[in-house]
């Protein structure tokens, strides 16, 4: 086994997240899928940090976590305010700009 296995695991997790974003209709679950994609990218950063023998990858993974936390806070607030007006968390129901 080599560190490449971690990269392949990360590719698999990223794909699961991307397919989840495409398939699921619930805005909160779509958001969780985005979190999974961010986690997969973090895994590649940590693995490359180890491959290169430098801590920079871990530092950047740390920053990705900070940005993800901020993004979750704002995104969930948006979902909440949409739910308050539309009484629904489905991405299909938010279609007022459609016609």
């Amino acid at each position: 086994m080599t560190p490449t296995y971690y990269l392949v695991l990360s590719a698999i997790l990223f794909t699961i997240g991307a397919v989840g974003v495409l398939v699921r209709r619930n805005a909160i679950v779509v958001f969780m899928c985005i979190e999974l994609m961010l986690n997969a990218v973090n895994l590649t950063l940590v693995t490359f940090s180890r491959i290169n023998g430098s801590l920079d990858g871990q530092v950047i993974a740390f920053f990705v976590m900070v940005v993800a936390a901020a993004e979750v806070v704002v995104g969930l607030a948006i979902i909440m305010s949409i739910f308050r007006t539309r009484r629904s968390a489905s991405v299909d129901d938010v279609n007022l700009l459609k016609y």
Partner: protein, 252 residues
């Protein structure tokens, strides 16, 4: 790497210690199963819990990849804070959390599955070939010099200081944005206690609304209370909109 070690099988024993390989082969399937479960569970709470399992596994993987600090931060921030935030919002959004089975665009699920399969094949094969037989320059030397946390702190507060300062601005903006978005502006004047009591008397129903039934068969808020004659009371359960009980005065 000697011949005997290579003979033990490339899946288990390559350029990393055997213990790490064993840990990886335990954690990686759980992480993948958690991700698949998140996509396939109909109930959003189940999705959130399986995503939490995936994130725990990733935290453990960071630790065996010589990043103990980032591993603990992963567990504390992701499974501790972010997933709890998700669960809070799921509970606020309430019963609507299960997904609809209607396919809005015809053939979209099949197309997504094909896309996912193609994408994972392309990326995994490319990465696997590009980094085949790579020897990691491990972090042992860096981590031994004052420890992982000290080295990370040195890096963050010297080379990445500006980015670190920017994240503080980002966090403040996010907190303010969340407050602005979640804030509800009051449209009418605040109802005083006197006015509320007066409305209640005039509504023709001055007594309390009956609570949901607490029966031996269940204590859910969906269980209607039983009237003295044994018939269920419709007024005791929630009505049309989830989480909102319509009151006669129009306020909720």
């Amino acid at each position: 790497m000697s011949m005997q070690l290579l003979a033990a099988g490339p899946l288990m024993h390559g350029v990393v210690p055997l213990g790490e390989a064993i840990a990886f082969w335990i954690l990686a399937p759980i992480a993948v199963l958690g991700g698949i479960g998140m996509v396939f569970f109909r109930n959003a709470v189940h999705s959130a819990l399986s995503l939490a399992a995936t994130m725990m596994c990733l935290g453990a993987i960071y630790m065996i990849e010589q990043g103990p600090f980032i591993g603990f931060v992963q567990i504390i921030v992701y499974t501790g804070a972010i997933m709890i935030l998700f669960l809070f919002v799921l509970m606020l959004v309430g019963r609507d959390s299960s997904d609809s089975l209607v396919e809005t665009l015809r053939g979209q699920r099949l197309a997504s599955a094909l896309f996912g399969l193609a994408f994972v094949l392309i990326v995994a094969v490319t990465v696997g070939r590009a980094f085949k037989g790579i020897k990691p320059a491990n972090l042992d030397a860096v981590n031994a010099k004052g420890g992982n946390v000290n080295s990370l702190a040195t890096s963050i507060f010297t080379r990445y200081l500006f980015a670190f300062e920017l994240t503080s601005a980002l966090l403040i903006v996010a907190a303010v944005a969340a407050m602005v978005l979640a804030h509800v502006e009051r449209t009418g004047p605040k109802l005083t206690q006197k006015q509320a009591a007066r409305d209640r008397i005039r509504s023709g129903r001055p007594q309390n609304w009956p609570g949901p039934g607490v029966l031996s068969s269940g204590n859910s808020i969906g269980t209607p209370a039983l009237l003295p004659d044994g018939s269920p009371s419709e007024e005791s359960v929630l009505t049309s909109t989830p989480g909102v009980r319509e009151l006669p005065g129009g306020s909720s």
